[in-house]
């Protein structure tokens, strides 16, 4: 056994009319609790240095991001090596509050989908309104990617990040690269 963390697809990369890349090992921490509680939101904000995101939004500062996953779930994205310490800090901040904090880094795979037509590639696979008016940087959506559950958000106007379970990373990479194949341009957006 090696101690070096390995991601599901070993940072596979495909350059079609949009670039699809598996991002290698990523730190992810699941936080569950009552997001309506001001005390809870403040504790998470203090521990991560980010403001608690609003519904279906993601906040980023440097290499840490905080994402809204459901009315009682947040997810922290950070460098893989930082996850345990950061999870410890969040756990300490939430001491005494009904909550759950767990490092889930190796449970999921993260992809970057970048290029001027990145919207189009995701729109082929997910039942989501991806028009620039409806979905912009900082917006996050948990949905269905072809036949699997996934979540994606917009980092900037030309890059999406997508997470799915590690066990279906190969499938996600397959459908994303297929949708990004040269010749498959639709030009809708």
């Amino acid at each position: 056994m090696s101690d070096i963390p390995a991601s599901a697809l070993n940072a596979a990369r495909y350059a079609g009319y949009v670039t699809v890349a598996e991002m290698g090992p990523q730190g992810m921490i699941t936080i569950r609790g009552n997001l309506r509680s001001t005390r809870f939101r403040k504790a998470v904000a203090d521990a991560t240095g980010l403001t608690c995101p609003k519904q279906r939004r993601i906040e980023r500062k440097g290499d840490i991001a905080l994402a809204w996953m459901s009315p009682d779930e947040l997810m922290v994205m950070c460098p893989h090596a930082d996850a345990p310490a950061l999870a410890g800090a969040v756990m300490a901040a939430l001491e005494g509050m009904h909550s759950l904090v767990q490092v889930m880094s190796d449970a999921r795979a993260m992809f970057s989908i970048s290029g001027a037509d990145a919207r189009e590639v995701l729109a082929k696979l997910a039942p989501v309104d991806l028009s620039p008016d409806a979905f912009g940087p900082g917006d996050l959506r948990r949905t269905r990617l072809a036949q699997i559950a996934a979540a994606f958000w917009m980092e900037d106007t030309e890059e999406f990040r997508l997470i799915c379970f590690r066990s279906v990373a190969g499938y996600a990479y397959g459908v994303l690269t297929n949708a990004a194949r040269p010749g498959g341009e639709v030009g809708y957006f």
Binding site: P71, P127, T143
Partner: protein
């Protein structure tokens, strides 16, 4: 195709993002109940042509259950509401009454 708005994450979710959970507002009859009540709880289901109340799971989404009121004949949606409610809330009933005056569904109207 059905598009239901999930009351928990506010997403107008299309049918394939959801999982149907059957009839809403069933009252559980467990140990100690009469055979008739227990049979009704297990097997007695409404099968209306018109107003219907259902449970839906936002499976490929926030993962929450919620309630929906819709018309089985036209696929028209009257509204969605929290899974924590044991009966349809007033705004939903009003929305249904506006379009289907005199509607009845089990003990609700």
């Amino acid at each position: 195709m059905l598009v239901l708005t999930c009351p928990y994450c506010g997403v107008a979710a299309e049918e394939t993002e959801l999982h149907a959970g059957g009839e809403a507002h069933l009252k559980r009859f467990g140990p100690g109940a009469s055979d008739e009540d227990f049979t009704g709880y297990l097997f007695g289901r409404e099968n209306p042509k018109g107003v219907h109340f259902e449970r839906w799971l936002h499976a490929n989404g926030c993962g929450k259950w919620f309630h929906a009121a819709r018309c089985t004949a036209t696929l028209e949606l009257f509204g969605t509401y929290s899974a924590q409610l044991t009966e349809p809330p007033e705004p939903i009933r009003k929305a249904i009454s506006a379009k289907r005056p005199g509607w009845r569904w089990r003990e609700f109207s």
